[in-house]
Symmetry: C2
Subunit: 206 residues, 2 copies
DNA sequence: ACGGTTCTGTACTGAGTCGTCAAGAACTCG
DNA sequence: CGAGTTCTTGACGACTCAGTACAGAACCGT
């Protein structure tokens, strides 16, 4: 029938995500993406549309992957829910600093750069924030069921607070605040959760 | 001697701050600043240097003003230190949403956009974060002296945590998370501070 | 009033960017 | 092998932007 494509759509999308995460929206040209993927500009336009469309597709792909990752970290049995929360909170700084390329949350980045003027992007960003809050809420509720968090605590507020803290650690890590200070802050935040006496008295784990 | 300037340097700097805060570094052209100030580009270059220099000067001016504002909110007598901390924490969302132009923290914005590649900006941003942490620490220490916060709490970690939360609320507000949710999260965070029994039992204020 | 100095506005250059287009390449079906 | 279809490439035009240059305007001391 016709000439087949020589590129993998997912590969191009991943490259676009990397470029936008690294350079921002205004700071990334289609030539950058073209160079990163080896694809000519014509092919890019034919397959993905204009710059904004490429951006929205890349952001959508990031959101999809981010939610998969978030669930992988937070979903699980009730008895270890509080530990998963602890890990999530404490890994806040690492989300930026451990990454080879010092990325960080793309949703946070574009919430700051373009949400004000790009309603389509803003909707995607709000979506991922909301769903991450929901995943956190599920984990908080699990910890409450297991008796590690106070049953009368406001789970929604806790989830929102934890996510905000995570986003803030991201920003501060990018601003150069020392890893040790952020880790200590994260531990402090965890101790500020409404932990039950049962949690504090539980036997230490391996 | 010579022709005097028709513009006020501070006015131009303020306009530059506004433009960069609104549009980001890559998204703001010198024409934008020129238009916003009514000043020709030639005068801009003669007085402020190239784009990056203008940006650094604008960021420096923002940092100066931000520290003045932070001190105005947090400095004060020991007996109301805990209230000032409460106000600061709870005003996190308002920092974006109450502002007429929905700005938010310029340091946070550029930590995300340019800190990775612009060491000069990164140093300024780290400076404002560090000093804000110090101001918060002073306020925390004051609250400890007055017996509202546990004396054995790690003030540095608390200060860093509170600042991270503030930055994160900023990001989430820009991402469209509802004001009510952020306010509830802020209240939750405040309750997570190591408040003393003396604070909880104190008589309600006007 | 006048000369010297500084400021202002605008036009220009060179580079980069977006989006399009047309010509050629690769593949499949008949 | 040929026709038709789809993909790829590179170039092109219009535009924007950063930074410079130059001519003229405004001012002050003498």
């Amino acid at each position: 029938m016709a000439r087949p494509r020589t590129f993998d759509e997912q590969t191009v999308l991943d490259a676009a995500v990397r470029q936008f995460r690294a350079g921002g929206y205004a700071g990334t040209s289609l030539d950058d993406i073209s160079a990163a993927t080896g694809l000519g500009r014509g092919s890019l336009y034919a397959s993905f549309g204009d710059k904004h469309t490429v951006f929205i597709k890349a952001l959508t792909e990031y959101v999809r992957q981010a939610l998969v990752d978030t669930r992988a970290m937070l979903d699980g049995p009730d008895d270890s829910a509080i530990d998963r929360l602890h890990t999530w909170i404490v890994s806040g700084a690492g989300f930026v600093l451990d990454d080879d390329e010092h990325f960080g949350c793309m949703a946070g980045k574009f919430a700051v750069e373009v949400a004000e003027t790009d309603q389509e992007a803003k909707a995607l960003i709000l979506g991922v924030f909301s769903q991450q809050q929901q995943i956190l809420l599920d984990c908080v509720t699990a910890a409450q069921r297991h008796g590690d968090l106070a049953a009368d605590a406001n789970g929604c507020a806790l989830a929102c607070m934890i996510l905000a803290l995570n986003r803030g650690m991201d920003v501060m890590a990018k601003g150069g605040v020392a890893r040790a200070a952020l880790d200590a802050a994260a531990e402090q935040a965890f101790r500020g959760l409404p932990l039950t006496a049962a949690y504090r008295d539980r036997p230490a784990r391996a």
